[in-house]
Amino acid sequence: MAEVDIRNVSKSYSHRRGAKEVLRNINLAVQDGEFVSLVGRSGCGKTTLLRIAGGFVRADAGSVIVNANQVREPGPDRGMLFQHPMLFPWLTVLDNTLFGPRAEGTCTRQTKERALELLRLVGLEGFELHFPKQLSGGMMHRAAFARVMITKPKVLLMDEPFGALDALTRVGMQQFLLELWDRQRFTVMLVTHDVEEAVLLSDRVAIMAAGPGEIVETVAIPLGRPRTYDLCETAEFVALKRHVRQAVERTRSGSAVVGGRRPEAAE
């Protein structure tokens, strides 16, 4: 059975002048340990779909099943990573990592050992007692990974997690994510508008079209693992990337994109 099962999900937002249909009848199954990306133009509803899976937005129709439970509200079985790391600035890196277990009241000495191990895994050994402001952008993102992984989520939901990083750090984070994923094989749903990122990281890429948002094509990425960034220069990769890019370009541009404002991010 699929780890994440999105069934017939539809969503509209009502405005003063009627409703805008954001998602129409979306179906997507993500298998255990599978890395799936959602790509599409701004306004295609990909972020809304991720937020429905996260439990932050309620679907008008349809359901999202994660690990045999229907999603009703946010929960630690679905780890969320945002464009910004959203580390709590008043907590040290270690205390940030321990936030989830403490909130659930399950923080033991073993949890703390695990937090230190995770911080070592993400390359933050020696920075446990630093505050987020003392870290670089890439380090903050890696701390956010440690924080979300400590609750052992069934699936990681990432909303353009590296979108705000500079190009070099971004490549570093993609490399980091590839290595981490090779080691742990967690289930991932990643929203991005970077076609290269989607093809490099994913097992499958779902291409979404706007107005109303639907999945128009799902492309399997049969590239071997482990992968490194060098893969981007192989002919096989370039062909897949071209295929996905052209599929995205064929979609209608988001009708609701006014003045560069993304309606899905506006709510």
Binding site: A103, K112, G123, L135, G138, R142
Partner: protein, 298 residues
């Protein structure tokens, strides 16, 4: 687990600034006992250049005051800093007026009014602000009232409060609260509104309940800005108390200043002003220490 990420990752995602030493000897788990270390680090960051520049400013004012006093050479118009200091020292142990209280006694009277008035005003204002931030209809009702009342100087209420409550402690304490509440409401609402929704979402997806996210994230994240509100409110408290003590009181620093002015004892006026400045500075410093504790590296 041996460091499996390898060095390449750290190389790519830019090295951090060389920060305060956090690498401590001993086992990793042993570090949990060391909560004192980050606390100490928060206070270690005294910016000495700021302290020195601040002192230069204060000394500069005193020197200008002194020169002006020498030129004017009239103790009633402008007493010198030395005169003021002598008078201040004298009345630390002698009552003024003769049947009244010493300066420390009057200071204590003002301070206790401030603390009581500030405390109830801050609690009421903070709670009202918090509820307004959470309950939108209430906010729509109370907001215009606050906006209407905010430009009114609290001093405008003094005659009314005297008519209603006489000249005891109650009207004074009420007046301070009236000045504090709108400031706290405005700053608490703004502070809570400014907390990014993604903090709450991150907390909720890490397993926090709504309640836990409210107290440990939303309110916690708003604390530094709320304390800024407290500092502003503390300033207004002093304005209110000195004014009300000048109109309806038989003790307190405001009363002493007015009495000294009636009898042209200008050095005592200056002494009162200096005392108010010093006490207000100390109270603000205490709030700043709290602010620093809740906003490490802020």
């Amino acid at each position: 687990m041996a460091n499996p990420t390898g060095s390449s990752l750290q190389d790519v995602s830019s090295t951090p600034r060389p920060a305060a030493p956090s690498r401590m000897p001993g086992s990793a788990v042993g570090r949990f006992g060391a909560i004192g270390v980050p606390v100490l680090r928060r206070f270690a960051a005294i910016d000495w250049s700021r302290v020195v520049m601040g002192l230069i400013g204060v000394l500069g004012i005193i020197i200008i005051w002194w020169i002006a006093a020498l030129i004017i050479s009239d103790n009633v118009i402008l007493p010198s800093p030395a005169d003021t200091g002598r008078t201040l020292l004298h009345y630390l142990s002698h009552p003024y007026p003769a049947r009244g209280d010493t300066l420390p006694g009057n200071m204590a009277a003002s301070l206790s009014r401030i603390l009581v008035g500030f405390a109830w005003g801050a609690v009421a204002g903070t709670m009202l602000g918090a509820i307004m931030s959470a309950v939108r209809p209430l906010r729509l009702i109370v907001d215009p009232l606050i906006e209407l009342g905010r430009p009114l100087p609290p001093l405008a209420f003094i005659p009314l409060l005297i008519v209603w409550f006489g000249i005891g402690e109650l009207p004074k304490v009420l007046l301070i609260g009236i000045g504090v509440i709108p400031i706290m409401v405005v700053s608490v609402v703004a502070a809570l509104d400014a907390v990014p929704e993604e903090y709450i979402e991150a907390a909720r997806s890490l397993g926090a309940s709504r309640r836990y996210a409210l107290f440990h994230v939303r309110i916690r994240a708003a604390l530094p800005a709320i304390i800024t509100g407290l500092r502003l409110a503390m300033g207004v408290s002093w304005t209110s108390i000195v004014a009300v003590e000048m109109i309806a009181a038989t003790n307190g620093l405001g009363y002493v200043i007015l009495e000294a002015s009636n009898y042209l004892i200008t050095p005592l006026i200056f002494s009162g002003i200096v005392l108010i400045a010093v006490v207000a500075l100390i109270l603000d410093a205490l709030l700043r220490i709290v602010q620093r504790l809740v906003a490490p590296m802020g």
